[in-house]
Structure formats: structure tokens, C-alpha cells
């Protein structure tokens, strides 16, 4: 077998050194009590060629962004990834290395993470960031747990328009009881509602910007109000490219920022692996979960990097850890930082603009279709339209014409009839005029 180096001779020699006759003697204590060598109902080994054939057939069954006209966003985005990114992350020393617990032989990983932490802080406009989390949704849940620890309060208020999955994750993972959570799903942020709900037991208010429906808001006055009540404002960003044209969450007064970083360096991959970003203010440093890299010096006075503030983490604090998280998103954070380095300031801001202009372009074309309404007063690269038919039916019929036209809101919010005819449509720098014309032609037919 191609991944197993031991030969029959090797095994015999080694068994002899150990002093046993066959391998099952090493499992004898188990055999006394339990079943060893059970009958397993799975196929035997296959050649590379056979495995490749099998998985290629599965792959070929799927429509994807490169063989369709593609307009889906909602927390995962299609962007162009430069060829260098995938090439670099496949270098042995990045792909197959372990967590940098031995810093003397992991300076490559530690240095890029230090650079990554800096880039994330600059993007979010915050003081410090960690070395990444699993994804935006778990980063948000960790931010909520952080806010509860910092304020020593339990109440959590979720804005109406955060990604519905994110809301479910927060509820499941942040240990919030039903009576401690405020959350109603509808289209627009009801700012007054948010202001009214904040009280002395509120640990945090969580707002997504741009929100699930694509709309953008200035959160400065909300931040001030929330903080005046002793609570924290958590801002969630699912499309990091928006940070090239919007005020940073830090500038708007956020206390903690949780982002999905997938847009840079990482393909959509049917939902994972992604990369969560978590940033906060200096004063909350000791409450930040996950891995974090810091500067140091070696015995010769040479500058280097180490994992630091580990005393907060589970392998030391055990019961009192700030979180139970163990891994960061390693290779995905590397892909993120390489892509951002290749872009640079000008490239990032231009890419951001191109996304916005693409969405503006699509919006203009879509609004020419009769009976289609745009619901947003603002957006970055995705927006919500209301159709004369059910969103789910529209999307399925468009898919038959190889146009992946967006997300029917009813897929994620199935108990609000007002939104059943709405879809969320994204348009990025990858969408050409041809793509958009395909969308329009197909839509006209579907709506006839």
C-alpha cells in the first residue's frame, strides 16, 4: 500500500525485537474483553486512479461558479484568487507543518501569523486581533462569550438582520438562555428597537454590517448608546472586501469585531474550511480567545515570534479557559494573508470598488425587469430584491438555465411570509457583462 512504508520483513524483524509472534499479541488485552478484527462492511483499498475516477464523478455532478452564471453571496463569496496563493500554501513547510508550539522551528508560521494579526487589525480598525478562528459564525459566538465575561452580564441582543445561521450558532454555543436573548428576524434593522432593548443586564448588542440583506449602516451612535449602558457593541462582517469602502467597525466604535475572512484567498468549498477573524481593543486583551502570536527575543537578542498568552487557553486553564478552542484556521489564514499582501493597499481598495461597481451594474439591469423591486437603500456587493413570484421557485427555475441567481430568503428565514418572494443577489469582480445578461434573459423568461 502506497502510504505504508513497512515491508513484510520489516514487520517480522520488529515483532521479533518486541518479543511477540504476531501483531494481535499487542492487542491481546483488548481481545479478552472486546471484539477485535470485526467484519467491516466497506470496500478494500483502491488505486489512485480508481479513487480519482470515483470522486471526479461526484464532482462532475455539481454546478459551480465556473460553469454557471453565478450570483450567490450570503456569507460566502466568489472572488478571483491569484495563482500564487494556492501554490504557496501547498509548500510542504506550510501544508504539512504542525502548530508552532516549538518556536525555534516554526518561525515561518509565527511570522506570517504576526503579519496576519496586523493586517486584520488594520482592516477592522481595532487594536489587536488573534491568529484566526474557525469561521465568522464561531468567531461571533466567541465574541459574545467574551462580552459576557467582560461585563459579567448575561443579556444578549441580536440585530434582526444578522445572518440567520450566525444567530443559531450564537444561541447554541454562547450558553444563552431563552430569556436572555432578544432576536426577531426581519428585513431592516429596527434601530429604535435595538435602543429600547438595551438594559442593565445587557452584555452586548450584535450587529452585522453590511447585513445579511446587503444593507450598510453607520453604527457610531448605536455604539455610543450601547456603551453608555455598560454593554459592548459587537460588529460582524461577512464580506471583508466591504472594509475597502466602508468606515471601519473600529472607527464606528465597535468593542469587538468578528469577520468571515473567506473572501480573501479561500474558495467557497461548499461551506468550509473558512477563516474567522476576531479583533478587539487593547483593554480586552486578556479576554481574547484562541491562539495569538507575539514578539519576543531569543537568547542571542535576535527578534522572533512565539505563541503567547497561552495561560488563557484550554490546555493550561482547563476548567477556567476562556474558550475550549484548540486550533486556529492555519492554512486558510495563510491564504488570506498572502492574497492581501499581493493586493496591497491600492489593490484591496480597487478590488473593493470593482465589487461595488459590479453590483451597481447588475442592479441597474435588474430594475429594468418589470415587477422587480430593490429593497435596499444602500449596499456593498449584494442586495435584496422582491419578485412577483416565490423566491425559491424563481431560484430553482433560474438554476435549470444554469444561472445561480442568489439565495431565496425563505431558505434561511422560513417563518416570515413577507420575505417569501425575496432573494439576496451578489455580484463581484468575477461577474462579467455576459453573466449579467444571462441573468436578465433567464429572469425575463422565468417571470413571463
Amino acid at each position: 500500500m502506497r502510504y505504508l512504508p513497512l515491508t513484510k520483513n520489516d514487520r517480522e524483524e520488529m515483532l521479533s525485537t518486541i518479543g511477540v509472534n504476531n501483531i494481535d499479541e499487542l492487542f491481546s488485552n483488548i481481545a479478552e474483553k472486546a471484539n477485535i478484527n470485526p467484519k467491516i462492511n466497506l470496500p478494500n483499498h483502491k488505486t489512485e486512479m480508481e479513487v480519482e475516477k470515483h470522486l471526479s464523478l461526484l464532482s462532475d455532478k455539481n454546478l459551480h461558479a465556473d460553469n454557471s452564471s453565478f450570483f450567490i453571496g450570503g456569507g460566502s463569496y466568489k472572488h478571483h484568487i491569484p495563482a500564487s496563493v494556492d501554490h504557496i500554501i501547498q509548500r510542504s513547510e506550510f501544508l504539512t507543518s504542525y502548530t508552532p508550539y516549538q518556536p525555534e522551528i516554526s518561525q515561518g508560521t509565527l511570522q506570517y501569523l504576526y503579519e496576519f494579526q496586523t493586517q486584520v487589525s488594520l482592516l477592522t480598525g481595532m487594536d489587536i486581533s488573534n491568529a484566526s478562528m474557525y469561521d465568522g459564525s464561531t468567531a461571533t459566538a466567541e465574541a459574545v462569550s467574551m462580552a459576557k465575561r467582560i461585563t459579567k452580564r448575561n443579556g444578549v441582543i441580536l440585530s434582526n438582520t444578522i445572518h440567520p445561521h450566525y444567530a443559531d450558532v450564537i444561541k447554541t454555543v454562547s450558553g444563552i438562555k431563552d430569556n436572555e436573548l432578544v432576536y426577531n428576524r426581519k428585513f431592516s434593522i429596527d434601530i429604535d428597537h435595538l435602543f429600547n432593548e438595551v438594559n442593565d443586564n445587557t452584555a452586548c448588542v450584535v450587529v452585522q454590517n453590511p447585513d445579511f440583506f446587503g444593507s450598510c449602516y453607520d453604527l457610531s451612535s448605536l455604539a455610543e448608546f450601547v456603551q453608555s449602558k455598560g454593554a459592548l457593541l459587537i460588529v460582524v462582517v461577512t464580506e471583508v472586501l466591504s472594509l475597502g469602502m466602508l468606515k471601519s467597525p473600529g472607527a464606528m466604535g465597535a468593542d469587538i469585531v468578528a469577520c468571515e475572512g473567506q473572501s480573501l484567498g479561500n474558495p467557497m468549498n461548499f461551506g468550509g474550511p473558512y477563516v474567522g477573524l476576531l479583533s478587539t481593543k487593547n483593554k480586552y486583551l486578556r479576554q481574547i480567545p484562541g491562539r495569538i502570536v507575539g514578539e519576543s527575543e531569543d537568547v542571542d537578542g535576535k527578534k522572533g515570534f512565539v505563541l503567547t498568552l497561552s495561560a488563557r487557553e484550554q490546555h493550561i486553564r482547563r476548567e477556567k479557559a476562556t474558550s475550549n478552542i484548540c486550533t486556529n484556521s492555519g492554512l486558510c489564514s495563510l491564504a488570506f494573508t498572502i492574497h492581501l499582501t499581493l493586493l496591497g493597499e491600492k489593490g484591496f481598495k480597487n478590488l473593493s470598488r470593482l465589487n461595488h461597481e459590479s453590483a451597481l451594474n447588475l442592479k441597474e439591469k435588474i430594475l429594468k425587469i418589470p415587477e422587480v423591486k430593490l429593497l435596499n437603500k444602500s449596499f456593498f456587493n449584494e442586495f435584496t430584491i422582491e419578485l412577483p413570484i416565490k423566491g425559491e421557485i424563481f431560484i430553482n427555475r433560474m438554476a435549470e438555465k444554469r444561472v445561480l441567481a442568489g439565495i431565496p430568503v425563505s431558505r434561511l428565514i422560513n417563518n416570515n411570509k413577507e420575505l417569501d418572494n425575496c432573494i439576496v443577489v451578489a455580484s463581484t469582480e468575477t461577474n462579467t457583462d455576459d453573466d449579467m445578461n444571462s441573468f436578465i434573459e433567464a429572469a425575463k423568461e422565468v417571470l413571463r
Binding site: 500500500m1 502510504y3 479513487v51 501547498q90 513547510e93 511570522q111 468606515k247 468549498n269 431558505r411
Partner: protein
């Protein structure tokens, strides 16, 4: 900048010292900069992101990469981590567009192949473990533990037995176990290990009372030993109305050979990046699917993957009637699809016969190391081990050399050190797991090196205290890093330096 390079070892400044605001390695069309529809929060700000051209970027990251050890370059004897070879077929197949360019919220009719793959890997995991149900969603092992314990918590709630708040965890457990239980509001009680490195069953029984909710056990345990009483323990737990969670980090010792389902466990997380060869990537991404017994299968998190004749569909919304007992949702979308492709490619390549060979070779390699080193190192426990062997620091007593120094000296000999100071039940622990993808030559060379170093400890501690000396950087001051944390580059650094 001063040149401190040595041969092929290049020093590489940080990005912020070499990048430029006006540099880029990406060509983009020029935006029109006309109107914008952003509204009140539009801002054209200076972010401060340095860029590099493509040649400079490649050089920067290649030079960084060359400062890293990796499994491709050498053995990692890291106990509990299962650093096995990462097959390149996995990487090729994960990049097929029908997996990588698919959006998680595409209409289900357009991604049946992706859903079928998730179903296939689910079948493999259930069959290999002998368990009834599986959720693929947890994003890493630690999240898998959270998943298992959330299911247990929900099960207790659904029986209206919320007075059950006690979770028993062995003192040898990995830190994530008590962290997870405490995080969920359970009272964690630590159970001692006995002198044979196994859970003390009597101490365990004494702590099981009306408040007992669950036990979290690792099997084989973190000392590399099979918990021989596991079936009795599981029966005892179930008779007391509780649940058994198994930390599956050490599944490499059992895969294809012993089924956790036959041992009476109720939930177990599996680390795809350990047992099933997905790459460690310098710290992630991982994937931690969880298998469940009949007692817990109803409480699986969203989404559920179901099949209606030949059509796959997802039950995603928590208010759907098919999912009303679920404890909730662990992450946005459906889980680490990229890792499923890699793991399935590995599983199919090995097949059930090959996977049995994996656990046999893993156990063989570890015992060969134990037999070859037990005269110079001090094994913590007698008898055969499983896929990893645990030593204590008795062999160092009187030398002045501590476990950490021995580990750093191993670096100078071209190896990543073994796991040290874990598990906590043994003083100055050294935990060695070779895995099955090391050749006999490789293992013999490792044994030879350890023997040489062990012998050298008798000559005095200086050599060890100074180690490592051959690495691009030597021992770093971790105290300084924690007392005065500098966690990012700041513009002021430049101004202060001038």
C-alpha cells in the same frame, strides 16, 4: 538592511518593513470611481496595507516557509497528534471545481454530488466506528467535543433530569475535555489514574451519584494505553443513567481493528486531521465529525443530511419538525467540505483492509520504539503500549537536564520534539507517537538519536541547556512575550526607531 544570512538560511524582514502602499502583485481593471450606493458609512480611508509584487511575495513566503519543520521533511514523534503523511491525491481532489467552486447555499438540485460525498464519508465513519449516526459539522476536534457534550446536555434536558450536572474526567485528559464540560456549565470532577496508567474504576464508581451526567474518557488514553475496563465502565455509566463521551484523538490505534461502538460509547469525535490524514496546515483547518449511539442520535445539530429515494436534501432550519430535538447549530453552513474530500480520498485509498493495517503498523512502530529504548529511557508504565509510548523523566534524574532541555537538544539533531509535559499524571512526560507512515529506517534512526542523547545526558547539562544552536532562532523569551505583549506591528514602531 544588514545581511545576516548564512548559506541557504535567509533572514526575512516582516512584511511591514518591505511592503509598499504603492506596490501590488495583482493586476485589476481600473474602477470608474463614479457614484456609490454605500450611504452614510462610506469612507475612503487609508488602511495601511503594504503590498508586494508577485516575485517579492513569492520570495517573502518561500523564505518564511524554509524556517519551518514539516512532516514532509522529517518525523514528528508527537504523542496525541498523529502526524502522519499527508497524501497529495487528497490535495488534487479537494481542488476539483465541483467541490471547491460550489456555494453552500446553491439550490440542492445543483449540488447533489457534493451532498453524496458527505453521505459517503458519513457511511465510512459510521461503519468504521460501529455507531448509529454521525454529524459532519464540527469544525475541529475541540468543537467535536462541544458537540458531543451539547448532545448529552440536550438528552438530559429532554428527560427532565437537569439535576444531572456532574461530569467525570480523568486526570490524564487533554485540557479541552474539562474546558468543554465547564464551558457548558457542568461541574467537573477529576478521577485519578491508577498505577497502571488506567482510570481508577473504584474512584470512578465512588463519584457516580444521582447528579452524574456523563464521563469523558479517551481510549486509548493519553498514556497510550487501552482502558481495559471500558465495557464495565460503560455499563456502569448507563446503569446510573448517564452517558459516555469518548475523545477520539487516539483513534489511529483502533481504526479498522476495534470499533468504539462495540465498547459502549455514546458519542465520539474523530479528528480527520489526525486519523484520516488531512494536513495540519501549521495549526488548522481541522475537522471533528462526531458519531452517536442510539441514545444520542436524535440530538444531532443542524443541518441533517437526508435522502428521499435518490435525492439528497438538507434539514437546515431549527424550527423544522424533522429536527425538533436537535441541540442547535454549531457553525454557519455545513462543515469542512474541503477536509471531507481529503479524508474520503484517504479512506478509499486504504479501504477497510488498509485501515486495519494502519492501526497495526501504528501500534507496531510504537512498541518497537518502546522495546528499543526502555533500557535508556524510563517508560512510565509496564507492558505493551498502543500507538504511542509514554516515558517519564526518571532517566534524567541527577543529570541536571530537564525534559524541556532534552526536547530542545532533539531539535539540533533534526527532529521536532515529542510531546512534552503531557499527560500531567507523569512527571516531566515525554509522549512518543511515530504513526504508521514512518519507515523502519526512519524509526531506527530516531531510536539511535535518542540513545545518543540519553547517553550524552551523563556528560553534563550544558549541551542541553544551550540547545538548540542550529536553528534560525534559538530559545525565545516567553516570559517577556507574555509580560509585555506586542501582538502586531504599529506605525509608531517606525517613528520610535527614528
Amino acid at each position: 538592511m544588514k545581511n545576516s544570512n548564512k548559506g541557504l538560511n535567509h533572514d526575512e524582514p516582516i512584511l511591514f518593513d518591505i511592503g509598499g502602499m504603492d506596490k501590488s502583485g495583482v493586476d485589476l481593471n481600473e474602477p470608474t470611481f463614479k457614484e456609490n450606493f454605500i450611504g452614510e458609512c462610506f469612507e475612503d480611508r487609508e488602511i495601511g496595507l503594504p503590498g508586494l509584487s508577485e516575485p517579492e511575495s513569492i520570495r517573502h513566503y518561500v523564505r518564511l516557509s524554509r524556517k519551518n519543520y514539516s512532516i514532509d521533511a522529517g518525523l514528528y514523534p508527537l504523542g496525541s497528534c498523529t502526524m502522519k503523511h499527508n497524501p497529495r491525491l487528497n490535495e488534487k481532489l479537494a481542488r476539483l471545481k465541483g467541490f471547491s467552486e460550489v456555494h453552500p447555499l446553491q439550490p440542492l438540485s445543483t449540488c447533489q454530488g457534493a451532498l453524496e460525498l458527505i453521505d459517503e464519508i458519513s457511511v465510512w465513519l459510521k461503519e468504521l466506528t460501529g455507531m448509529k449516526a454521525v454529524t459532519m459539522t464540527p469544525k475541529a476536534g475541540a468543537q467535536g467535543e462541544l458537540c458531543g457534550m451539547l448532545a448529552i446536555k440536550k438528552a438530559i434536558e429532554s428527560r427532565n433530569e437537569c439535576h444531572r450536572t456532574k461530569v467525570l474526567v480523568p486526570d490524564s485528559a487533554h485540557g479541552t475535555n474539562p474546558a468543554t464540560a465547564a464551558f457548558l456549565g457542568f461541574d467537573v470532577v477529576t478521577i485519578k489514574s491508577d498505577k497502571n496508567g488506567r482510570l481508577n474504576f473504584d474512584d470512578f464508581k465512588q463519584n457516580v451519584d444521582k447528579k452524574f451526567a456523563a464521563a469523558m474518557i479517551t481510549n486509548p488514553n493519553t498514556c497510550g494505553l487501552f482502558e481495559d475496563d471500558i465495557i464495565e465502565i460503560s455499563n456502569y455509566i448507563h446503569d446510573a443513567g448517564g452517558y459516555l463521551y469518548c475523545d477520539g484523538a487516539n483513534f489511529n490505534a483502533l481504526v479498522g481493528k476495534v470499533r468504539p461502538g462495540d465498547l459502549g460509547i455514546d458519542a465520539m469525535h474523530i479528528n480527520l486531521h489526525k486519523t484520516f490524514s488531512t494536513p495540519h496546515g501549521g495549526g488548522g483547518p481541522g475537522s471533528g465529525p462526531v458519531v452517536f449511539s442510539d441514545l444520542l442520535k436524535d440530538f444531532c445539530p443542524a443541518p441533517l443530511l437526508k435522502k428521499d429515494e435518490e435525492y439528497y436534501y438538507l434539514v437546515e432550519n431549527l424550527n423544522d419538525k424533522d429536527i425538533d430535538k436537535s441541540f442547535g447549530r454549531l457553525c454557519v453552513f455545513h462543515g469542512q467540505m474541503g477536509m471531507f474530500v481529503r479524508a474520503l480520498s484517504y479512506m478509499m485509498s486504504h479501504g477497510s483492509d488498509g485501515l486495519r493495517q494502519v492501526s497495526e503498523d501504528a501500534v507496531l512502530n510504537a512498541n518497537y520504539i518502546k522495546s528499543s529504548l526502555e533500557d535508556v529511557l524510563t517508560p512510565a508504565y509496564e507492558g505493551y503500549c498502543m500507538h504511542e509510548v509514554l516515558f517519564n523523566d526518571d532517566f534524567l534524574s541527577g543529570t541536571g537536564v530537564e525534559t524541556i532541555d532534552f526536547a530542545k537538544a532533539l531539535i539540533d539533531k533534526g527532529y521536532h520534539p515529542m510531546t512534552i509535559y503531557f499527560p500531567l499524571v507523569v512527571h516531566g512526560a515525554l509522549l512518543v507517537e511515530p504513526t504508521e507512515t514512518e519507515s523502519k529506517n526512519s524509526i531506527d534512526q530516531f531510536i539511535e538519536t535518542i540513545r545518543e542523547l540519553a547517553s550524552k545526558t551523563q556528560d553534563g547539562e550544558e549541551f542541553f541547556k544551550k540547545a538548540p544552536i542550529y536553528t534560525p532562532i534559538r530559545r525565545l523569551d516567553e516570559t517577556k512575550a507574555a509580560r509585555n505583549p506586542v501582538l502586531r506591528w504599529q506605525k509608531n514602531d517606525v517613528i520610535a526607531a527614528e
